[in-house]
């Protein structure tokens, strides 16, 4: 008989370790352990069978993978954390004894945790890092907006600000911005970097107050920021080099050595100008051609023509979006939030400026006659130039989302703005009913139609833009070719009934011998569709039993949603018809009234 097997030495019982045991294993305090876990990307896990994972204990404990903890123990920074513990203890003592020199001495000894290798470990490729950038950007943009005095150490704020500004400069240079959305929470931005869509939120100005620190464990967030700062730094480095830009960023025409003016702080001089987002950054080896024209390669891999068409269309859209504001000169009034607007306009190739007194980096004055648009967010402006449009800021954001310059009339000063719709569509919404206004946001053609409808009131609305009911179309209405051929033959026979048999015979033979001109058999337009449908049906029957029920419930849901959408659309058309009828009647009455009056 072999050795008796002990319980929990293999399987789930051996795979997990409780937090307390992990602390003991690593000889760290809870605070340090938490910090290390956040830096290394090791998170607690939920076991499949808790009782087994906790070796018989049924209470709910925080569990980690044992392998993860073993991996943690190989981290070189763990030694620094242990050192830190000692230093903090000494520093605390010196502080309580009010020995300031000692406090300074110990503070200088605090080692810096080196995180480069951790970034590489967690994101083996650059694309991995880009994929996980959402969290990082949002947190750093938030920290950059914190006041420097307060609970957040100043270095966090300034460093976060520097990194985020650098990132924004990259997005501007690469023209990577795709979507913008102003919510009550903040500005949502979405950029496409190396094929990855990166989304982040920028808080509104002046929203951060004391309440912001109250609800969360702030130390934890600082640990995240520590890691994300390093991550974004390296990402920025690589992104800048991909565009041949120098990192850390400088702008051409500025060099710290040459400047003859005796500046108090040259670094601040440069960083302020860079933070204005209104300067092109210096590049190595001259500037790259601004518009790299990249056509979509004809991939033989993609067989589906429709898909290819769609891709091409998208690429075209992106191309137009990239130079949407090219050639426009936009002036921003002082009441409008400067940074998001400058960022968006510059991303799409526009020229921006603002009043010199609001911020550094203004390039032209309000009195410049070449300005095409001025962005204003107040009911009236005293002095107006004829040569430019005065529009509200939403025009910029809506134009970006629509991928075209929207008509300015709706966005004039004092106008009631059209709703600002979200460009972030969740997938489940695709089946649902969308009002024509929302459809217009996605499809520019629809927008034109809508404009026509709204512009030309007398025309019948809703006739062209509304599709037929989406209920199943009738199938198999088409007469087949064979049938028609047979009919023709019969007719011929009827005519020649009275002829002799011989003649008939001869005729028949002659007919057989004769060569008729070839007819083009009209291709059945529905044949391919029919075939597809049949294939589809076949596939449905071939569904494995395992998934059948799931499939049916899916189909049922789809059908339900479709009918709902159809119903709503129907309602809408009816409503619009009624409205137009009303309008017509009103107009008729008006005309009658006028006629009577005259």
């Amino acid at each position: 008989m072999g050795k008796m097997k002990k319980k929990y030495e293999s399987g789930e019982g051996a795979r997990y370790i409780t937090r307390n045991r992990a602390l003991k294993y690593l000889q760290l305090t809870l605070k340090d352990f938490r910090r290390l876990c956040i830096l290394k990307g090791i998170y607690p896990r939920e076991p499949k069978n808790r009782k087994r994972a906790q070796k018989g204990d049924t209470s709910i404990r925080t569990l980690y993978y044992k392998k993860d903890i073993q991996f943690l123990s190989h981290e070189p920074n763990i030694w620094k954390l242990r050192e830190l513990k000692v230093i903090y203890k000494k520093m605390c003592r010196a502080k309580s004894l009010k020995e300031k020199d000692d406090v300074v001495k110990y503070r200088d000894r605090i080692p810096l945790l080196k995180l480069d290798h951790i970034v590489k470990e967690r994101y083996p490729t650059f694309i991995d890092a880009l994929r996980d950038l959402d969290d990082c950007l949002t947190l750093l943009f938030l920290f950059a907006a914190f006041p420097k005095t307060g609970k957040v150490p100043e270095k966090y704020v300034t460093f976060s600000r520097r990194l985020t500004v650098e990132f924004m400069h990259y997005v501007i240079a690469a023209k990577a911005l795709r979507k913008v959305f102003i919510s009550i929470k903040g500005y949502y931005f979405q950029a496409e970097i190396k094929g990855q869509s990166v989304t982040w939120i920028v808080p509104h100005q002046f929203v951060i107050d004391r309440g912001h620190y109250m609800d969360v464990d702030f130390q934890v967030m600082l640990n995240f920021v520590d890691f994300y700062q390093v991550l974004l730094g390296f990402v920025n480095f690589r992104l800048y080099h991909s565009l041949n830009m120098t990192y850390p960023p400088t702008f051409p025409g500025y060099s710290a050595v040459d400047s003859e003016k005796n500046l108090v702080d040259e670094e601040v001089y440069a960083s302020e100008r860079i933070a204005s987002l209104n300067v092109d950054l210096a590049r190595v080896g001259g500037s790259v051609g601004e518009d790299e024209e990249e056509g979509i390669d004809e991939f033989p891999m993609i067989e589906d023509q429709e898909q290819l068409e769609e891709l091409k269309k998208k690429a075209e859209q992106v191309k137009t979006q990239k130079r949407l504001f090219k050639g426009l000169k936009i002036f921003i009034n002082r009441e409008v939030p400067r940074e998001p607007l400058v960022f968006v306009i510059r991303c799409l190739g526009g020229q921006v400026s603002w009043s010199k007194t609001t911020f550094i980096g203004a390039t032209f004055d309000e009195s410049d006659e070449t300005i095409t648009h001025q962005i204003v967010d107040r009911p009236m402006v005293d002095k107006q130039y004829i040569s430019r449009y005065y529009v509200q800021p939403q025009w910029v954001f809506d134009s970006v989302n629509a991928c075209e310059l929207l008509p300015v009339e709706k966005y004039f000063i004092g106008a009631v703005l059209p709703p600002h719709l979200s460009p972030f569509q969740s997938e489940h919404k695709l089946d649902q009913y969308m009002p024509p206004e929302e459809l217009a946001l996605q499809d520019p053609e629809m927008a034109k139609q809508l404009d026509e409808v709204s512009g030309d009131e007398s025309s019948e609305p809703g006739e062209d833009d509304i599709e037929g009911g989406s209920c199943d179309e009738d199938d198999g209405e088409v007469e087949s070719d064979q049938e028609s051929d047979e009919k023709m033959k019969q007719n011929v026979e009827d005519v020649e009934e009275g002829m002799d048999e011989l003649e008939k015979e001869r005729q028949r033979k002659k007919n057989m011998m004769s060569v008729k001109a070839g007819k083009v058999v009209p291709a059945d337009p529905y044949a391919s569709k029919k075939q597809e449908r049949e294939d589809y049906r076949l596939r449905v029957t071939m569904i494995r039993n395992k998934h059948r029920k799931l499939y049916h419930s899916m189909v049922k849901g789809q059908k339900k949603r479709k009918t709902e959408a159809w119903l709503l659309r129907k309602k809408r058309t009816r409503y619009e018809e009624e409205q137009s009828q009303k309008r017509k009647e009103q107009r008729r009455e008006q005309i009658l009234a006028q006629a009577e009056a005259s």
């Binding site: 392998k67 810096l112 969290d135 270095k155 959305f181 102003i182 620190y213 609800d215 995240f224």
Partner: protein, 452 residues
């Protein structure tokens, strides 16, 4: 002092005259308070200075006429000079060394102590000068210089924050020159690689994989736009109202099931019930004296002691045989059923198929559930994750312009909760005040005595 004082006053109350015949008696009955006071005053004056009340006003004050005269307005240079003069006085850090009494130093003449440099032997001085001139270092100096050099190198090599000077994802050059392992034993190879740190610990997959399918930034509801369309905003608000109603309903349910189950009890009732409970088993007084329960029967314990009664051998045998027979009968029945089942094969197959179908359905359900579970927060700690309220703006807060925008929500908390939702952080109760432990108060021994 106080003791004698007290005594003397008592004495005075008792007797008017006391004999002061002896020295002891004199001391005992004579008050020295005035003398002591005087002496203390003198000592105090010595230490601190003369009492102001005794000094004439002319010596204390003088009439300030400087403001009126031109000299009073001092130039900047003068003011600076004065400040310097003030600085020349004893610095604050040495104030403790200055005598705080005006009592003169009892030691009249003090010798100056020579510095260690002055005390040094002239020959040693000469040797040191020679060494310095020729650049000869002592062992101590040599070690110190070396340490300084090492420290400098270390300082230069320590990484600085805020500096990014390399492409992290570019292929790094090998740290050490490559070794030709062709002729080496595999163990040697392993050893070399390990100790030249060329083998790096393999990163577990759990670190690279994501903990949840929920995206870091979820698509915002179109109703949270600063200028939403009516439909979107309405749908957002209805969603929130629904959630709130659900919460209220649950709260009501819990209230109904717990607190409302029990009727309120008055204080009197609780008291009476307490009395009743506490007097359980005691002889009751109101109903008269409790009779001793004496039924004439013998005393019997509640749990009777068990007896080990063994069944006789014969009965045991019978039981065993009966059991065996039963088992055999069962086995026979099973065998019989096996034969009969051949004719029921069709039915059995049907049943099996039905069961399989059922299990398949169940599996599909489980799969569906598992797919959904990927988006749900997991149970990582004692506390369960709770969804936080979404941001929304009331209709009257929507101004329709960017200037009048009223921001809502807390982005930091939003991030924090999102991390909890994605299983990155475990849900915890945030402690605002640090728990410093219980404090136990006690009085020092010295204070205890005084209290007595």
């Amino acid at each position: 002092m106080t003791k004698t004082d007290n005594l003397s006053t008592e004495e005075r109350k008792g007797r008017k005259r006391v004999s002061k015949k002896n020295k002891i008696a004199w001391r005992k009955h004579c008050s020295t308070k005035d003398v002591d006071l005087y002496l203390e005053e003198v000592r105090h004056e010595e230490r601190v200075g003369v009492n102001f009340t005794t000094v004439e006003d002319d010596k204390l004050f003088y009439v300030d006429t400087s403001l009126n005269s031109e000299e009073g307005v001092k130039s900047k240079a003068e003011r600076k000079l004065e400040a310097k003069k003030k600085l020349k006085g004893v610095p604050k850090c040495f104030e403790a060394l200055v005598p705080h009494t005006s009592v003169p130093d009892p030691v009249i003449k003090r010798n100056r102590v020579r510095t260690p440099e002055e005390r040094k032997h002239p020959i040693k001085k000469k040797i040191e000068a020679y060494r310095k001139a020729n650049g000869i270092l002592t062992a101590k100096e040599r070690i110190a210089a070396n340490n300084r050099r090492i420290h400098k190198i270390k300082k230069e090599n320590t990484p600085k924050s805020c500096e990014f000077t390399k492409d992290l994802w570019a292929e790094a050059p090998p740290k050490y020159p490559e070794v030709d392992f062709q002729w080496l034993h595999p163990t040697t190879r392993g050893h070399v690689l390990k100790h030249t740190r060329q083998i790096e610990k393999k990163v577990p997959e759990s670190v690279i994989n994501k903990t949840s399918e929920v995206p870091a930034i979820e698509a915002p509801h179109p109703g949270v736009s600063y200028n939403p369309s009516y439909l979107d905003h309405h749908s957002l608000l209805t969603g929130i109202v629904e959630k709130e109603n659900k919460l209220i309903k649950e709260e009501k349910h819990i209230d109904r099931v717990t607190t409302k189950l029990f009727s309120a009890v008055t204080e009197r009732q609780t008291h009476s019930s307490w009395i009743k409970e506490m007097s359980q088993g005691l002889p009751q007084t109101k109903e008269g004296p409790v009779k001793e329960e004496d039924d004439g029967k013998e005393y019997q314990a509640v749990n009777l002691p068990t007896k080990d009664k063994k069944k006789p051998r014969k009965t045991r045998k019978n039981i065993r045989l009966a059991k065996e027979e039963l088992n055999q009968r069962k086995l026979k029945a099973i065998e019989k059923k096996k034969v009969a089942d051949i004719y029921k094969l069709k039915k059995i197959v049907e049943n099996v198929e039905k069961d399989e179908l059922k299990s398949l359905e169940k599996q599909a359900q489980i799969q569906k559930k598992n797919e959904l579970k990927k988006f749900e927060p997991k149970r990582l700690a004692k506390l369960k994750f709770e969804e936080y309220e979404e941001e929304f703006s009331m209709p009257f807060d929507l101004s329709g312009s960017l200037v009048g925008l009223k921001p809502e929500g807390n982005l930091l908390r939003d991030r924090f909760m999102s991390m909890q939702k994605r299983n990155i952080l475990q849900p915890t109760v945030f402690q605002r005040v640090r728990n410093l432990g219980k404090k136990k108060a006690f009085t020092k021994r010295s204070h205890k005595e005084e209290q007595k």
